[in-house]
């Protein structure tokens, strides 16, 4: 059986590799870094402190994929319910949002009469469309113009699924999808805080603020696959994937950077590594981002012009930075002394999130950034010394192309702004910091090879989702080059830790 090469040992690369290997292919994963896991790989921050991956949210991991790979045999298990999130506030104790809406109702009602019921209704709608949405996100995107009976059936399945939601929910879904998250959430919440907290995922990786149309779709995408987290977080996921891959006799080459995907007569011949080594293979799956793969690794002119133009136009402007903190003590949120919260969102108001993104439009980083805070040591105390915390923050907005470049001063300024924002909702945190590490989009690009430093391998926007992800001509994992496939977050259903793009790419390869 001929060899298959997977570029990149991130979670999607490992999924493709493991699925192909289990199907009997000889698979080699080529990874430029010295470890597997990509954005999910844990890092040592400070003696005694470990941070999980750049991506710390494993609520989107698709069970169907981990089941197909039998990852439970490799130690993978899930928490019993989706995590609760603290909507932190700069002046009061905020509110805890539970996935099980009933548990948050009373607290929200106390915040503002009506908001508790608004939350119940909002979650209720999501619960009703979840099956349909999850179905769409776990199948390859339908072709708009089906060219075979199978395609027609797949499209019909989607249409019937939509119809079966019943008229009110179907129309509501069609109404909501193109909306802006802010308008949608404000229909359910009168207090600004819950709307701001729930809007957070809408803005991530989109280069848009919550007042931009289409961000509701992003939010739907996130909420409809959200489930319990992986026990042990992204590191545990990567460990299990790695073991599953090895058990299927897959091979991983670390510290091996691909410099070119070599073609012969228009078809893939293999990859060339830095240092000149050539690996022959008729099949290459790029789990790196589409721009890096198709513009960086192919000889210019290899792609048809129209496809190349689409890839050039693909938007991947990173606006998310990561700040890791090692604390000499525990983080304590305002008014919640003694409570433990593994997740918090920091924005009092939707406009705060919008303002944070305004800065990025003018190539500035936000002076009052919007934060998504993870305290992984709450669930996994081994990540920090006893009684202490490690805090992992996704901060917005920090544009990749900041005016004047990411100088030491600019980095210091942004890290300071993030700590200030955290201090407002968790007073006393600053004094506890013993170590700090900032990863700007420029760092992410340099360390992980992400085009534009974009953690989703391309922005989540209405025109870059579903059958348009990453572009209309590349939406089915195959490329115009025989033997070359895409299998990373740049493909449907997109970024975040879902493992779905890798699984769908493997399915597309095995089908053909």
């Amino acid at each position: 059986m001929s060899r298959a090469i997977v570029i990149g040992a991130g979670h999607n690369g490992l999924v493709v590799g493991a699925l192909l290997a289990r199907a009997g292919r000889a698979v080699t994963i080529v990874e430029q870094r010295g470890e597997v896991g990509g954005l999910c790989a844990p890092r040592a921050l400070h003696p005694g402190y470990t941070v999980p991956g750049v991506l710390h949210d494993t609520t989107g991991v698709r069970r169907a994929v981990t089941d197909a790979l039998g990852l439970s045999r490799f130690g993978l298990s899930f928490e019993s319910e989706p995590p609760s999130v603290l909507a932190a506030h700069s002046e009061h104790r905020g509110v805890v949002l539970h996935a099980e809406a009933k548990r948050s109702r009373d607290e929200l009602e106390r915040l503002r009469a009506g908001d508790g019921d608004g939350y119940l209704a909002w979650r209720g709608f999501l619960a009703r469309i979840r099956g349909f949405a999850a179905g769409v996100l776990s199948r390859k995107p339908p072709l708009m113009k089906p060219d075979s009976l199978a395609e027609l059936l797949s499209l019909a399945r989607t249409a019937i699924g939509l119809r079966r939601l019943g008229k009110p929910d179907m129309l509501e879904l069609m109404r909501v999808a193109p909306m802006c998250a802010a308008d949608w959430l404000q229909e359910s919440f009168r207090d600004p805080l819950p709307a701001a907290a729930l809007a957070a995922p809408a803005a991530i990786g989109a280069c848009l603020g919550p007042w931009s149309a289409g961000t509701a779709a992003n939010l739907l995408l996130y909420e409809c696959v959200r489930g319990p987290e992986v026990k042990g977080g992204p590191a545990a996921l990567v460990r299990a994937l790695h073991e599953a891959f090895q058990a299927a006799r897959g091979e991983i080459l670390l510290e091996s950077r691909v410099t070119q995907i070599r073609l012969e007569r228009g078809a893939v011949a293999g990859v060339e590594l830095e240092g000149g080594r050539f690996l022959e293979a008729p099949l290459v799956v790029a789990s790196c981002d589409p721009k890096s793969a198709l513009l960086g690794l192919l000889e210019p002119g290899s792609l048809p012009l129209d496809v190349e133009e689409q890839v050039v136009s693909l938007r991947a402007r990173g606006t998310t930075a990561k700040l890791e903190l090692a604390l000499d003590g525990r983080i304590e949120f305002r008014g919640r002394e003694g409570e433990r919260h593994a997740r918090a969102v920091v924005a009092d108001h939707l406009d705060d999130i919008e303002r944070a993104f305004d800065a990025a439009k003018y190539r500035q980083c936000s002076q009052r950034p919007h934060l998504e805070v993870s305290v992984p040591s709450v669930d996994d105390p081994s990540l920090a010394p006893t009684g202490k915390d490690v805090v992992s923050i996704l901060a917005h907005a920090a544009p990749h192309d900041i005016e004047g470049g990411w100088s030491a001063a600019a980095r210091e300024r942004f890290a300071g702004a993030v700590v200030d924002a955290l201090e407002r909702v968790a007073p006393g945190t600053r004094a506890k910091i013993v170590a700090r590490e900032l990863l700007t989009p420029a760092d992410l690009e340099q360390r992980y090879g992400l085009s534009g430093g974009h953690i989703h391998h391309g922005e989540h926007a209405l025109d870059q989702l579903l059958f348009m992800r990453p572009t209309q001509k590349l939406a089915r994992y195959a490329t115009p080059i025989a033997g070359l496939y895409l299998g990373g977050s740049g493909s449907h259903p997109g970024g975040g830790v879902t493992c779905q793009p890798g699984a769908l790419a493997a399915a597309a390869i095995l089908e053909s």
């Binding site: 069609m174 848009l208 931009s212 149309a213 289409g214 919008e354 003018y362 209405l462």
Partner: protein, 530 residues
Amino acid sequence: MPTTYDAIVVGAGHNGLTCAAYLAKAGRKVLVLERRASIGGATASEEIYPGFTFSSCSYVVSLLRPQIIRDLELSKHGLEIMPLDWTFSPFEDGSSLLRGPDPEMNRRNIARFSRRDAERYPLFGQAMSELGRMMKPIIESPAPEPSKLTPSTLLELLRLGRRFKGMGEEWLSANLKMMTMSAVDFLSEWFESERLIGPMSVSGIIGTFLGIRSPGTAYVLLHHYMGEIDGSFRAWGFQKGGTGAVAMAIARAARAHGVEIKTDAPVDKVLMTNGQARGVVLVNGDEYHAKAVVSGADPHRTFLGLVGEERLEPEFAKQIKRFKMRGSSGKVNLALDSLPVFPGLDGASHHAMRADITIAPNIDFLERAYDDAKYGRFSREPFMDCVIPSLSDPSVAPPGKHVMSIFVQYAPYNLKEGAADWENQREAFGDAVIDTLARFSPGIKDRILHRHVLTPWDLEQTYGLTEGNIFHGELSLEQLAFMRPAAGWARYRTPVDKLWLCGSGAHPGGGIMAAPGQLCARTMLQARAV
């Protein structure tokens, strides 16, 4: 015993008049009731200062459907449109860009900023016109209704589908991209120079509460490429005597078909019996009865005002209440002592002054203007679209003098201090407009004889446009086609039996297009509702 009509139309705007004219043409007895002393609604021209006639609200004509012009013989009734097919964009450094129907001149002018853009510009125009042509059937027929799969809707969908059949998946995806992208992202796929992208992108935001970087604005861009005058595509024009004369022409056509029009006749409520509309009652208590009532007012005013929330199904009332109206623009009308000047104008100044003068120098300028509005302030440095109709039509100003009509965005209805605070901020807003304009046209301040500022608050108070929205509801994706104004009620019929909606709040939306009025009349006649 009051006279009974076949139909009563509420509001003598261009859509109400069009609907009335079509119904009367089919032999129905129609009464139009207008709240104001003059007809036209937001399509009005008014002599606000002696000798100076302003097209106070809408100022250019583009989207008026040619079929309506033919059906109602509007040319015979005084419709006379003079082309406005040049766009002039001055920049602060004294340079400028003039575009128009002369391809060679466009190429030369654009090449000063980018050679590559100059080459691509005509291709872009072709592509957009092509897309626009394809979209035409959509605005020329009622919105397909995906939730009701009756044979007739299936047939309609099939007919639409057949039009798209020859087009490949690529074309469909280009269309979908257009529907979902931002104007800037879309234009950036074509062009590199901000001097071109800035002025071009503003077509995507006119009348919306969106920024040029907001997804969905690329579609509005297309909307403006669908303008059509006398069959020539994407042209804009002035109506002789001001846009009010368009309404006058439609009114004349309507009267010729026997329509009765009463002004100073503000309708208070729709009269209903057993959930059926059977007429209207005026503020003064007069009652008029009819087999059907057609509202040309916006959806909020129609359902929450004329009908009243208490007489609506709660679910429908909820849908109407969340139908977003938020007006975002204002108007400043100037009476000028002499023509304004723009530095750096060469021999082409003749065209430039007759052009649509767009103050949209770069992307960040436009985006900052939007940022102000998002947080409840009028733009300190607004985007402006100016025209000087007196150059093409001397009848609107005294000899040697001029009127300048400035469409200004953004002026959010909901100020941070509340909408009523527009009373206190109106002149400051006018000052911001003139100060910004003066940076592009030095000396303009000295030429101003009179200044007339219309804020969204004024548009609501004077013209009855809820929240000052000139399109009777935002043109955002979730408020278009079968969602306009509410899912399931996009076909002019309303949940109130025998009450119909014919204004811009119905499909296909706003602008001096008159399509909602025409389509509503056609639907009523087909349904034998009158």
